[in-house]
């Protein structure tokens, strides 16, 4: 049992103590967590971005010509820090505006292309899937294609807000919500799976890496 793993185990158990009830040990571990993680992020961004990309980009260590346009990024970044002041904090909106604008421009197209158009294209499918060689219908895939087509169409109808859900339209929307529920059910199952995995990881750390009880 080495000291490194012992420390890690103490911190692990300290956080878990919250499950019994909120207590000073948990709050201490939490406080350390906040500090360490802020420090971790700051160091990584400092060396990998500010030092490596910006500073050595402007002043390359091999003495070649630097890319001085990077200064604009740094100036915007420094303006961001003005947010700490209440008097001239408004100037921090400039870099923010830049980030918001760039993100909006990038997202507007990427989401439209990848999440709408390419999905629509893939839904324009033949409802009858035929085996290329024998020419017979592949039933499993045919049913699958039907499910995808009905699900996407009815789901879209459910999220249609400018028409009342009545008649055929309403019935379609009803089918849509069933599909959404099955989808959420699948997400539910997967999320439970994920959360349990996190715990398995910690348990295996405690019993295997720390206590060495498992081979």
């Amino acid at each position: 049992m080495d000291i490194s793993n012992f420390l890690a185990a103490v911190l692990t158990l300290g956080i878990f103590s919250f499950l019994y009830k909120d207590n000073p040990v948990y709050r201490a571990c939490e406080a350390i967590f906040v500090g360490v993680s802020a420090g971790y992020w700051a160091i990584v961004f400092f060396f990998d971005n500010l030092q490596k990309k910006f500073w050595e980009g402007v002043f390359p260590p091999d003495g070649s010509a630097g890319d001085h346009l990077l200064w604009f990024g740094a100036i915007l970044g420094v303006l961001m820090l003005f947010r700490l002041s209440s008097k001239i904090g408004w100037i921090a909106r400039w870099p923010l505006a830049f980030i918001v604008g760039a993100t909006a421009g990038l997202y507007m197209i990427t989401y439209f292309v990848s999440n709408a158009m390419n999905q629509v294209a893939d839904t324009m499918l033949s409802l009858i899937v035929v085996n290329d060689v024998t020419g017979s219908i592949i039933w499993t895939q045919t049913i699958g294609a039907l499910v995808v087509a009905v699900g996407v169409i009815s789901g879209l109808v459910y999220f249609f807000f400018s028409k009342e859900h009545k008649g055929v339209f309403g019935a379609t929307a009803k089918v849509g919500i069933w599909f959404l529920m099955i989808t959420f059910g699948a997400s539910f199952g997967y999320t439970v799976m994920s959360r349990m995995s996190l715990l398995i990881g910690r348990m295996s750390f405690l019993f295997r890496d720390w206590l060495g009880l498992i081979g």
Binding site: N49, N118, T191, V192, F207
Partner: protein, 299 residues
Amino acid sequence: MASTIATILLILVGVSLLYIAYRTITGRPVERRIVFIYIALAVALPLFMTLPAPVQVTPDVERLYDALEELRPGSKVLVSFDYDPPSAPELQPMAVAFMKYAFKHDLRVIVMGLWPQGPQLANLAIEEAMADQEIAAKNLEYGVDYVNLGFQSGNEFVIQAMGTQFKRMFPQDDRRIPYDSIPLMANVTNFSNVDFVFNLSSGKPGTIEWVQIAVDRFGATMGAGNTAVQAPQVYPYLRAKQLHGLLGGMSGAAEFEKIVEEPGDGTTFILSQMFAHAIVILFVIIGNAAFFTERRKQE
């Protein structure tokens, strides 16, 4: 020995659930800390057991395997580590199995991360893969057979700029070697020069951003491993062939380990996963049984 004790304890846990069911249905639910103990036992005890769990490889995992099998020796694979330690139980087994597969099949691996913790987790995975005897015998050389480009800030904008030039975002690798001095990167300018992209992702930026930018804008061929929380959301990409294969959560990891024949943590953990699911399902059933009994009484 430990296995037998664990099995007996698990059976006891199962039996005691009957008592909890009885209490709950008669309107005296147990407090949540009791539930906590159950889940802890359900996860911890199976770790001591040696039961083999029959893992069944699903088509999504097979598709990734088929895509990898198509890659000839010498192909360049870009692997992006976009996750942090909390998601490691799910994604690290995938990473390790992938690295072992890649090294054994002479694929050349370029590692990077859009999450600050990514490159360090990549180092851990490479360390573990290198411990394999067959791989150790190959004497793989850093910079020639694999390289860790490190982390860069900017989320999806990093992928966007990499579409023109990797060097722009990674002027030096994680070991501070200039991009131009890395033999592996000599002929790699952008996505058009790598043969496959593999992404391990637990959120944003991750698989969704990689598909949107690297695949749909710059034409990369890509497969992914996701945490189970995110996996359901990327299924539409899988169907639309924007993704070639998907490993979802712990079960995806175990299946991948099985198909590439590199059993590791995914295979070990799947038993715990199974019992944890069983407990959750039983608790939902008990809770609902009580709910319906009470509702009937009210009517």
